[in-house]
């Protein structure tokens, strides 16, 4: 286990801390504005565009990028791929923080966040896909919390509680995959109700499946991406196992992502084929669709494959960024670019800088919390007292 030396601990006035301070400060101020002046004072939302980047980025992308949790835990615990074990805790942590931040962002977006429990306890709108999303996300957040808790309990020395929770691992993992399948696909299913507002190339009865598959891609790629960042900034916290398994994780996940991207590409093309939407490809939107499909799905698939084959970790890491951007691009396209495509440009939406500010604020909270947890709790290393655990 690596020792934390005072020499390596950074000064409180590091660049990151400075930026974080500014962002958090601005964020707090924007929060005040949001709750004193209403959504109109901080957003460019309108009656034609009720959902902006808080939904597109914080919800849709956030949930997708936090998918590494279920992907990794199912790979290790259900498929028995023990060599990725060291990637589980970071992935679960990312997932937990990701979903927690999604919940935080939702509190900004909805008109009356104190009523968020209403669909569960007051009146259930079971005909709504959003109900299912809410229910599953809330449950999954709990599941993630429980899955994450052993690390916290190890830090706090709660041995009995920890051993109890660890016994539930398989059950929680299965539950987590079931919940993830449902809510990842349901995020896409949200748009099924508005075929008249979504461009035919992006609207498909298969949207739920597309969103589910891209969540797997996002999960795999985010694990690679975060492992890259963690190694850059937190290598000193990592233990032998972690450092040794790291390359294996990158290669293995890269390989998996390559396959999934290829499959995704295929079902996208099949989706166009079954609806006979080829002629849309020659329009402006069609070109943009091809950019998304070829540049951010086909290309990463090939690059991943190539990187794995030649064991080029650098290429795989670069491709993971590309793939993550692709998922973000797809979610943005579905919810912002191809949505309301029929409206004149005067009615189209572009985010207010304050909306972007809040999103950055939320991401910054996530980074700060991640750093806090990773530098104190046994995420990147195994706690010496619990080495027997697995």
């Amino acid at each position: 286990m690596a020792q934390v030396t005072t020499a390596e601990r950074k000064s409180i006035f590091s660049l990151f801390n400075l930026i974080a301070f500014i962002v958090l400060g601005v964020g707090v101020y924007l929060t005040y504005l949001r709750f004193s002046g209403g959504l109109a004072s901080v957003t460019n939302l309108s009656d034609y565009n009720p959902w902006g980047i808080w939904i597109s980025f914080d919800l849709l992308c956030g949930v997708a990028l936090a998918a590494g949790g279920y992907v990794t835990s199912s790979a290790v615990y259900l498929f028995g791929m023990k060599k990725y074990h060291s990637a589980v805790r970071p992935a679960i942590l990312t997932g937990f923080l990701g979903y927690a931040l999604v919940f935080l962002a939702i509190n900004y977006d909805v008109g009356r966040p104190w009523r968020l429990p209403y669909p569960l306890v007051v009146q259930q709108g079971t005909t709504s896909v959003l109900f299912e999303v809410g229910l599953c996300v809330a449950t999954y957040l709990t599941v993630l919390f429980i899955e994450f808790s052993p690390a916290a309990m190890e830090w706090l020395g709660l041995k009995k509680a920890r051993s109890l929770v660890v016994k539930l691992t398989i059950l929680l993992t299965i539950f987590g995959v079931v919940l993830s399948t449902m809510h990842q696909s349901s995020l896409g299913a949200l748009f099924l109700i508005a075929p008249s507002k979504l461009h035919p190339l992006w609207y498909s009865p298969y949207i739920p499946i597309y969103f589910f598959v891209t969540s797997i891609i996002a999960g795999l790629s985010m694990v690679i991406f975060e492992s890259t960042l963690s190694h850059r900034f937190f290598a000193y916290k990592m233990d032998e196992t972690h450092l040794q398994e790291a390359n294996g994780v990158t290669l293995g996940f890269g390989k998996a992502a390559s396959y999934v991207l290829a499959g995704y590409f295929a079902i996208k093309v099949l989706g166009i084929s079954t609806e006979n939407h080829w002629h849309y490809l020659t329009t402006g939107y069609g070109i943009w669709y091809l950019v998304e499909l070829l540049g951010f799905v086909a290309l990463p698939s090939l690059l991943y494959a190539f990187g794995v084959r030649t064991k080029s970790l650098g290429l795989i890491k670069f491709t993971s960024v590309l793939a993550v951007l692709g998922v973000i691009l797809n979610r943005f396209n579905v919810s912002l670019v191809a949505f309301n495509w029929h409206l004149p440009s005067s009615e189209r939406y572009f985010p207010h800088w304050m909306e972007i500010g809040i999103s950055v604020f939320i991401v910054m909270i996530g980074l700060v919390l991640y750093r806090f947890i990773v530098t104190r709790m046994p995420i990147l290393y195994e706690h010496p007292d619990y080495k027997d655990a697995h």
Partner: protein, 319 residues
């Protein structure tokens, strides 16, 4: 992971019982809702509308909405196309008449009170109710403000009070539900001098429209907008020029909105039921493969050792 027979039977029994709780997932059926019998509808005849905006004024008065910047007698607002806002549940817009360039066509736009409303289907707290009178009403006491209804509405009607910090509401036409249940007419219907808005049972409104087509075939386009669009609405329109020219979308189809998400939602019980089995199976298989690999490893070890041992035991026995 072993489980006792008793425990297993207990779980299965509980799961079975749990399926008896709850109502039918009406969202996920393919039943066709043709409206509550005797529900009311409004027929808007755009060939009669003269764009006087009396309906807008009446709506404003009945719903106690704030006064607009320009009074309702100001017809210059008709030069721009307007949409419903938090202060205007209904708007009248002016369009060019392709059949007679001198006389423009007017069209009153408001919530269409669909038979199977997209907003009601989309709302995850059931803030919208399709009432027996035909009106789709909104309950602001449970609304969380997620605005999914605005995404869902194909007619782009619901508006949101973005400028309210603590009590933002969705606003839309209510078909004057409180008035209708007392036997009164909706405000706009009562106010229209030309009777461009007719009020009565939905079946009767369709009859009236068809009768008008029969009597004046060259005056009307032979189509009642809202009879089947999005599964049917309780606000019907007839027009002398193609509906497209009035800014009404003719590509919405006849599938009711709830049916669009019924497929995705109906898969939920299947996933909940089958995924755990599938994943548990995968887990079991991978565990079994581990076990087999372990056993094979041990066997390989013992056989390798056995090959060595006979020599050793002989030497041991000898020594």
């Amino acid at each position: 992971m072993s489980i006792s027979r008793r425990k297993f039977l207990g779980w299965v029994g509980a799961a079975g019982l749990s399926t008896t709780i709850g109502k039918s997932a009406a969202a996920a059926t393919n039943k066709h809702f043709t409206g509550y019998p005797k529900s009311f509808a409004i027929l808007h005849d755009t060939t009669l509308c003269v764009g006087c905006r009396s309906c807008e004024a009446a709506c404003n008065k009945v719903n106690e909405l704030p006064q607009p910047d320009k009074p309702f007698t100001d017809l210059s607002v008709l030069e721009t196309k307007r949409r419903t806002t938090t202060k205007a549940f209904t708007v009248v817009n002016k369009y060019d008449n392709s059949k007679g360039p001198q006389s423009p066509v007017f069209y009153k736009k408001q919530c269409n009170h669909c038979l199977e409303p997209a907003c009601a289907s989309a709302c995850f707290v059931r803030a919208f109710t399709k009432t027996k009178t035909g009106a789709v009403t909104y309950d602001s006491t449970v609304c969380v403000g997620c605005r999914y209804c605005m995404i869902a509405c194909p007619f782009e009607i619901p508006t949101y009070e973005y400028d309210q910090a603590l009590t933002p509401r969705i606003r839309k036409c209510t078909m004057c539900y409180p008035r209708v249940i007392e036997g009164l007419l909706p405000g706009c219907v009562e106010a229209c001098p030309m009777e461009a808005l007719s009020f009565g049972k939905r079946e009767d409104m369709i009859k009236i429209a068809r009768e008008r087509f029969r009597k004046y075939p060259d005056r009307y386009v032979d189509h009642i907008y809202g009879e089947h669009e999005m599964g049917g609405t309780n606000w019907l329109y007839v027009s002398g020029t193609p509906f497209k020219e009035l800014g009404m979308r003719e590509d919405l189809g006849i599938t009711p909105a709830p049916q669009l998400t019924a497929g995705a939602l109906s898969s939920v019980p299947m996933i909940v039921g089958l995924w755990p089995v599938l994943l548990a199976g995968i887990y079991a298989v991978s565990k079994r493969k581990e076990k087999i690999a372990q056993t094979e490893q041990e066997q390989a070890l013992t056989s390798a050792l056995d090959k060595k041992r006979p020599a050793e035991s002989e030497t041991e026995e000898e020594s």
